[in-house]
């Protein structure tokens, strides 16, 4: 025991022991947050494999890979926005505009264009453009991302409907359709694109100023500002990237279905947000990453696919998905709970 001049009583041994205990618990918790989703994925996969042998077959594995391709691409972009503490609700609308502008420029049933790969690029650029617009509106007008992107969702859906005019263009460029449905060394082509996206996303996240400042902005904009970080620039970049991945998703989905359609991205936004959160990226920003989001996507894909195998009705599937989100969020925020604390 020792006493400081002010008379504060110290009890070093107890404090030290307590501190060590807390450190151990802290490390365990940290590990649970990091590895929990991956563990859940393994358990789900194993459980479904035991439930029905066909689930683990090579054919179904290909189905899983193909189903998760576009959500993986979307989640990569969305992760950046959420890491910055914002949210992008315009994904589905942006996908629709990209899908239609790309389909109208490929050889199709409505127009005389036949631009091939250039049409794909145009579709992607349209997505990036709307994403950037999101970012500019948010940073210039200082409106919450939630509101701005909700508005842009409406705007882009409207534009898509205008282009479509009630007659969805059918894509007749067979080489592009063939590529979108084909596979290389046994892996679906779209899955390969998704993997490339993921790798680029990972490299951006860890080895570029944009990636690291994304974490800074999510951690604390105040501190970022004090340190002279150009917050607005990186936010616009984040939303631009998210728009770009939405555009890419829209274009690839169109190529796969052979159709430019307003509803091309239906349900995708909810799925993507869910995947990002389940993976362990916190909605308040600063924690998580693209790999975590990829795990989240796989969990949802495996779940949806597995439930079909063990015969759960589609209606119940949606409810199960909702329950899983709630459980995942509670698990991720459990340690921040405190009695008498108010959450808004």
């Amino acid at each position: 025991m020792d006493r400081t001049p002010t008379g504060v009583i110290q009890w070093p041994s107890l404090a030290a022991r307590d501190g060590n205990m807390r450190k151990v618990i802290g490390v365990l918790r940290e590990m649970a947050v990091t590895w929990g989703p991956a563990l859940a994925l393994v358990i789900l996969y194993t459980a479904f494999s035991i439930g029905d042998a066909r689930f683990a077959s090579l054919a179904n594995l290909k189905t899983l890979a193909s189903q998760s391709a576009i959500p993986l691409i979307l989640a990569t972009g969305m992760t950046y926005v959420i890491l910055q503490g914002s949210i992008d609700l315009s994904v589905e609308g942006v996908m629709a505009v990209s899908s239609l502008s790309c389909a109208m420029l490929l050889r199709n049933s409505r127009t005389g264009f036949d631009l091939g790969v250039i049409a794909l690029l145009v579709g992607i650029c349209v997505g990036a453009m709307f994403g950037t617009l999101n970012g500019i509106l948010i940073t210039r007008l200082r409106i919450p991302s939630f509101m701005v992107t909700l508005g842009i969702w409406s705007v882009t859906s409207g534009i898509a409907m205008l282009i479509s005019g009630g007659q969805p263009p059918e894509i007749r460029d067979m080489s592009i359709r063939g590529w979108a449905l084909g596979e290389t060394i046994g892996v679906p082509n779209l899955t390969l694109v998704a993997l490339v996206c993921l790798v680029i996303g990972y490299l951006l996240q860890n080895f570029t100023r944009f990636g690291r400042y994304t974490y800074v902005i999510g951690g604390s904009e105040e501190i970022a500002k004090l340190s002279g970080v150009r917050i607005n620039f990186y936010k616009v970049l984040g939303f631009g990237l998210c728009g770009l991945t939405a555009g890419l998703g829209g274009v690839l989905e169109s190529a796969r279905l052979g159709l430019g359609h307003v509803e091309i991205g239906a349900q995708q936004m909810f799925l993507t947000l869910t995947a990002v959160v389940i993976g362990g990226t916190s909605l308040s920003g600063g924690r998580g990453g693209v790999i975590q989001s990829a795990v989240g996507v796989l969990i949802l894909t495996v779940l949806a696919n597995g439930m079909i195998f063990i015969g759960v009705t589609p209606y119940l599937q949606k409810a199960v998905q909702g329950v899983i989100i709630l459980v995942a969020v509670v698990a991720a925020t459990w340690r921040f709970r405190a009695r008498l604390r108010v959450v808004k």
């Binding site: 025991m1 020792d2 006493r3 400081t4 001049p5 002010t6 008379g7 504060v8 009583i9 110290q10 009890w11 070093p12 107890l14 404090a15 307590d18 802290g26 940290e30 860890n206 080895f207 570029t208 100023r209 944009f210 690291r212 974490y215 800074v216 999510g218 951690g219 604390s220 501190i223 970022a224 004090l226 340190s227 002279g228 970080v229 600063g286 924690r287 009695r339 008498l340």
Partner: protein, 505 residues
């Protein structure tokens, strides 16, 4: 005598109707440690923020090495070599130590937007080595202790040396307030080391710390610089007198006053109260108008007992009697109804809504007192609030000022008023009411609390130091490992701190 690094020339600053700083002039020589002392709200923090470029002064100049700073911005100050270590730390807990140290100025470690992690870590290592600090640069900052984070903050500020190529001027805003004794020693040791390469300005409430590290001490009162002392020859009493500037120090009475006779009825009675492993077999009586101080180390269970009395945690055994009748525990709302008031230690989090006005904060829990029929009688509310602002001498520009803008001591008084504004609470629980306050604010809270007790309110008190407990309590209950080990009446110089200590450990 070494050259002058920074001088402040008749700085003045107003916030609304409050004159925060008036004609403050001081200078800092290179490689000198300056202690800046003063009560809460005396303007030290404002002065520091002006130095760091966070606030623009209304009058006067900041002159760095002979050149006046023309722009008031954090980065302009940094370019001139001034860096600040914040009280509420400015590190990103989700990033690595290396990233935090070089945030916003990664230099060679980032080329064309691409990170060279090896380079960055190397550079961070070099900064940390300056402090003789063995934290690994790729640790996630959130996993460090407060003292370690303080080291990282220092390392971050020291990057100014390499970036600007001048000796930095380092501003420390209460660097030790959240640390324990051992950690404080480490930080103070670092400050002593810094003297060989930088000028330092340290703001602290703790006299012994400032006396240990500082070369010169400036004392501030009411926004003015009232004295400059050489730290080697200054007398602690002299400093206290300067800081208070008035009669308040006498009110911080010692416990050699005679014992106050307590013969009133029993207000609160605990019978064999227990709660899992937190505490057991707690029995005592608290009389009307008595101040009962709880002594005990962290984890002795004294906080838990108070939480139970306040209704935040139900006991697993035993009963609590208030004025003779057993009370049930259905949460804090019931306790409030029964006239039990609780002033928490985390006043910013638990006791105060910082972005509501002083008036709203005061009447928040007891709108009834200002109600006429179904509606709020705002005139009556206004009058009531003004009354309490006056009685507790709360320094606020107006009743409509946001509570978050007041100084720490005045925030504490608002929280106190919030519970007093009801038609006399029967029991007041004060959890570390003096934490983070300066001597002047302490003395005032002391006086108010005594006054309340004289008016018949019973008080349960937990305080940081034995000195405070002894000065304020009529009776001291000592707890150890969840049980009461002694009940000591206070008065006529008894008990001694040693007696209490023996029962605590």
């Amino acid at each position: 005598m070494s050259e002058i690094a920074v001088s402040l020339e008749s700085i003045g600053k107003r916030f609304g109707s409050v004159q925060a700083l008036r004609d403050v002039s001081l200078m800092i020589r290179s490689r000198e440690v300056i202690g800046l002392m003063g009560e809460n709200g005396s303007g030290k923090s404002t002065l520091l923020k002006i130095l760091a470029g966070l606030i623009r002064p209304d009058e006067g100049n900041v002159v760095v090495r002979g050149r006046p700073l023309t722009k008031a911005s954090f980065s302009a100050a940094a370019k001139a070599g001034i860096g600040m270590v914040f009280q509420e730390q400015s590190l990103l807990l989700n990033l690595t130590v290396a990233e935090n140290i070089f945030l916003g100025c990664e230099g060679e470690a980032v080329r064309f937007g691409l990170y060279n992690w090896r380079k960055l870590k190397e550079m961070a290592r070099r900064q940390l080595d300056k402090l003789g600090c063995d934290i690994s640069p790729d640790t996630i900052t959130g996993s460090l202790s407060f003292a370690q984070r303080q080291m990282v903050e220092l390392a971050k500020v020291l990057t100014i040396e390499d970036r600007i190529g001048v000796e930095p001027i380092i501003l420390l805003d209460e660097p030790t307030s959240v640390l324990d004794a051992e950690e404080i020693d480490t930080v103070l040791h670092q400050i002593e080391r810094l003297r060989s390469r930088a000028s330092v300005v340290i703001v602290s409430h703790r006299l012994d710390e400032v006396l240990r590290v500082a070369d010169r001490i400036y004392v501030m009162t009411n926004g003015q610089c009232v004295g400059e002392r050489d730290a080697r020859s200054v007398d602690a009493e002299d400093l206290k007198r300067l800081m208070l500037g008035k009669h308040l120090s006498e009110q911080y009475r010692r416990h050699d006053r005679p014992a106050r006779p307590i013969e009133n009825e029993v207000r609160l009675s605990l019978r064999n109260l227990a709660h899992r492993s937190d505490y057991r077999d707690i029995s005592f009586d608290l009389h009307a108008g008595e101040i009962l101080g709880f002594a005990g180390v962290e984890g002795s269970g004294r906080e838990c007992v108070c939480r139970t009395v306040y209704g935040a945690e139900a006991p697993s055994a035993g009963e609590v009697l208030l004025d003779g009748s057993v009370i049930k525990f259905d949460g804090p709302a019931d306790a409030v109804k029964m006239g039990i008031a609780y002033v928490p230690s985390e006043r910013r989090i638990e006791g105060l809504v910082p972005n509501m006005s002083v008036r709203e904060n005061m009447t928040l829990a007891h709108l009834k007192v200002a109600r006429r029929g179904w509606f709020l009688d705002s005139q009556r509310e206004q009058k009531l609030v003004s009354q309490w602002v006056e009685r507790l001498r709360i320094k606020t520009p107006s009743n409509h000022a946001l509570a978050g803008q007041l100084s720490g001591g005045n925030q504490q008084k608002v929280v106190l008023a919030k519970w007093l504004i009801a038609e006399h609470p029967r029991l007041l629980i004060l959890d570390h009411p003096l934490r983070g306050l300066d001597i002047g604010a302490k003395a005032e809270i002391f006086a108010r609390v005594r006054e309340l007790a004289q008016n018949g309110i019973s008080i349960l008190l937990i305080a940081d130091t034995l000195e405070e407990l002894l000065a304020l309590s009529d009776t001291i209950l000592v707890m150890r490992d969840g049980a009461i080990t002694a009940r000591l009446p206070v008065g006529d110089g008894k008990p001694t701190q040693m007696e209490i200590l023996e029962n605590m450990i």
